[in-house]
Symmetry: C2
């Protein structure tokens, strides 16, 4: 039996999960994959991490190049993250003829083409199931069983941190800062939460999903993104009153030969299944022309769930090495659908404004919406505080994004308008 | 570019869906799979079906052997169903060195070992994603991404017909016969509904899922099964009152080195996500030691959803042919966990009895449960009709199946007991 040697680069959260799964199940993998799989080399900048995992000193190095250069290593597992060192590690590994397994969404969302073409040139595998949805199998199903479909849409909740925060805000009335502090205390959010709360993590993931689902190339920088920093407990309770739940939704839809892709807080009907996906869980809907509506649900983050997907990919590579069929399923980006301008979106908009409580302000604001072709539903709330500021909440009728943004620009410029509090798209998913 | 020729045997519901998907997307598959895939031969006993699909006369035969014997055909798609002719078609095809794609749950659940060993001997693929969950990718994820896990349980709603009927009974108060007639009128149930309503279809599917999830061999005949014929509107409304929903649940769990596998109507908490899976939809939960809880949802039946999975498998085989790596992932049944006797199950039981309204009957029935070690919760209902028959409804405390069945045998033998109306397991999934 052939032994497949793995070099594990990056011993953080996911890397330690991978080591743990191998410690538990290596003999099972041998039987199931028909090949022996051994992690022979471990690399991390921080030797303390290797010590904590009980890695034998002679298998550890603080220099990733040692692992990539080791002629006995067949597969490199890149768990550093980001697009700096990690990109070099991945490209150098592929060029050295080694297959790569990665959980790196930032890399695949921004440099996916370069990475996949390099893998193809060198006849090796690049697998990245863990880059989206943690342990949830979603990239595999899109590339295999669902490949028979023309996918209409792929959308859902793909960031566990913000979903945890929004759940806590909705269920217990926490404000944004308290929810964030709690998520950090529980290890669900980083010290610098930018990537999660600003929607960047979700944008990278939907770029990857859209690329695969639509057989086109969608990169991170093409995804319009809004995070959850502006969401207040007031928005959440207004949403509830109207029968909606606020979720950070990543959306990619095929619309008239283009791809409508975006990430933003969204009001969805409270009885929609996604409204009930709470805490750190992720759920991804895929609608195909033959399969209809499918959904994939599970833990979207965490050491072991993500490691589950990484190890699944390692076993897949090992099978391919065992049978000499590396590069079996390469890039499926054989179409070239353009990304649609978000200005062309039409949907309903929840708008919360803070204005001076003067006569005629409401009518003037309504007039600006009207001048821009945005038709308003009734005012949901008009509340005045002691300081003389009034809060007005509307939901528009179905309107075009560029019209709504033009109206908001004029409204922001009004002296009587203190702030545009929140603008949240209301969608019938 | 290599052309992969497909022989399609069985032009019924799923077969016509396969033909339709090829008509729509054959050129897409060429680009995505890197191989040209063409259905060159069609077979069915009934030439009218081929005519209806517009199959050219020179590509049609009413004799499956013509297709299997055609040296130009690389892949046989078996969509006849059942374990008679279909078994011969599948085995003969594999022995002729042709890979097989099938949606045949009965065959895989009863003769899976024979079929998979034959495929292995002849170095070809046998793929059967469509045999469980219609178009939902579930077998692929279990054999690939989730293979890194020790699976703890796989369970859910895997029969769309009975789920449709139970949904109609719960939502609109239909009785069993009316719900069945409606399902038949809508094409969700066969003229002979036995396989669905008696749980046999679900039992075959859970046997397949359990075999893959636990890397062991579980066959159809080992699955204890109860269908939904005995479920009445009364049972459904009692369940509702107690905060439960009745679903036909297929369960397979790893319990102390054995497999607890069964199919039966089950009362689950009304707030469990499975309670909200309605109509013809299926949902399958997989819990693994690393990935945690995952769920796969979609349409469990129907022409195009099932055909979506069949065509996904055809593309997979075509990729393997193109790269010369057929037989890449064969049988993963490398463990040998025994199936646990259902008598060892412990859970709560809902019991509805029809008794003569005589003094002391309730106490005597309760005494029998007690003598058998079954502790009862309070009586939920005691209702007497004009004829002097009384209906008693209990939910037991957690009890062992063999004790409950022993008690019920004694209770059935009582003169005062007219019928044991329903016995439904109440489970905390």
């Amino acid at each position: 039996m052939r032994t497949v040697n793995v070099g594990l680069i990056g011993l953080g959260t996911v890397g330690s999960g991978v080591a743990e799964i191998f410690a538990r199940h290596a003999t099972d993998f041998r039987r199931r994959a028909g090949v022996d799989i051994v992690i022979t080399r471990f690399a991390d900048r921080d030797p303390a991490r290797a010590l904590a995992l009980g890695v034998p000193a002679d298998r550890f190095t603080s220099d990733a190049a040692d692992v990539i250069g080791d002629p006995d290593v067949d597969v490199i597992v890149e768990l550093i993250g980001g697009t700096g060192v990690a990109r070099d590690v991945v490209l150098d590994s592929l060029r050295a003829g080694k297959s790569v397994v990665t959980a790196n969404k930032a890399l695949m969302a921004s440099h996916g083409q370069e990475v996949m073409e390099t893998a193809e040139t060198h006849g090796v595998d690049i697998l990245f199931e863990a880059s989206v949805g943690g342990g949830i199998p979603i990239i595999g199903p899109l590339k295999h069983s669902l490949v028979s479909n023309e996918v209409q849409s792929v959308l859902g909740i793909v960031n566990g941190t913000t979903n945890y925060m929004l759940t806590r805000m909705a269920e217990d009335g926490l404000d944004y800062d308290t929810a964030l502090a709690e998520a950090q205390a529980k290890g669900f959010a980083e010290a610098d939460p930018t990537a999660d709360v600003d929607g960047l993590d979700a944008a990278a993931k939907i770029a990857i999903l859209a690329s695969i689902a639509f057989n086109s190339r969608v990169v991170f920088s093409q995804v319009p993104v809004e995070g959850i920093r502006a969401i207040t407990p007031e928005d959440i309770s207004y949403a509830e009153e109207m029968g909606y739940t606020i979720k950070l939704i990543a959306i990619a839809r095929r619309v008239n030969g283009s791809i409508d892709v975006r990430v933003h807080p969204t009001m969805i009907r409270a009885d929609h299944p996604l409204a009930k996906v709470n805490g750190v869980y992720n759920a991804i809907y895929v609608v195909g022309d033959s399969v209809g509506e499918t959904m994939f649900f599970g833990e979207g983050a965490g050491s072991l769930p993500a490691a589950s997907a990484v190890v699944g990919d390692i076993i897949e590579v090992a099978r391919h090495i065992g049978r000499g069929c590396l590069g079996l399923v390469g890039c499926t980006c054989n179409e070239d659908l353009p990304v649609r301008d978000i200005g062309e979106l039409t949907t309903e908009y929840y708008v919360r404004l803070l204005v001076s409580d003067e006569p005629g302000v409401l009518a003037r604001v309504a007039g600006i919406f009207g001048d821009n072709g945005v038709s308003l539903g009734s005012v949901i709330q008009k509340r005045t505080d002691e300081s003389g500021a009034a809060e007005i909440v509307w939901v528009t009728h179905r309107a075009a994004e560029h019209d709504v943004q033009a109206a908001l620009a004029s409204i922001r410029a009004m002296d009587a308008v203190q702030a545009v509090g929140s603008v949240i798209r209301v969608e019938d998913l």
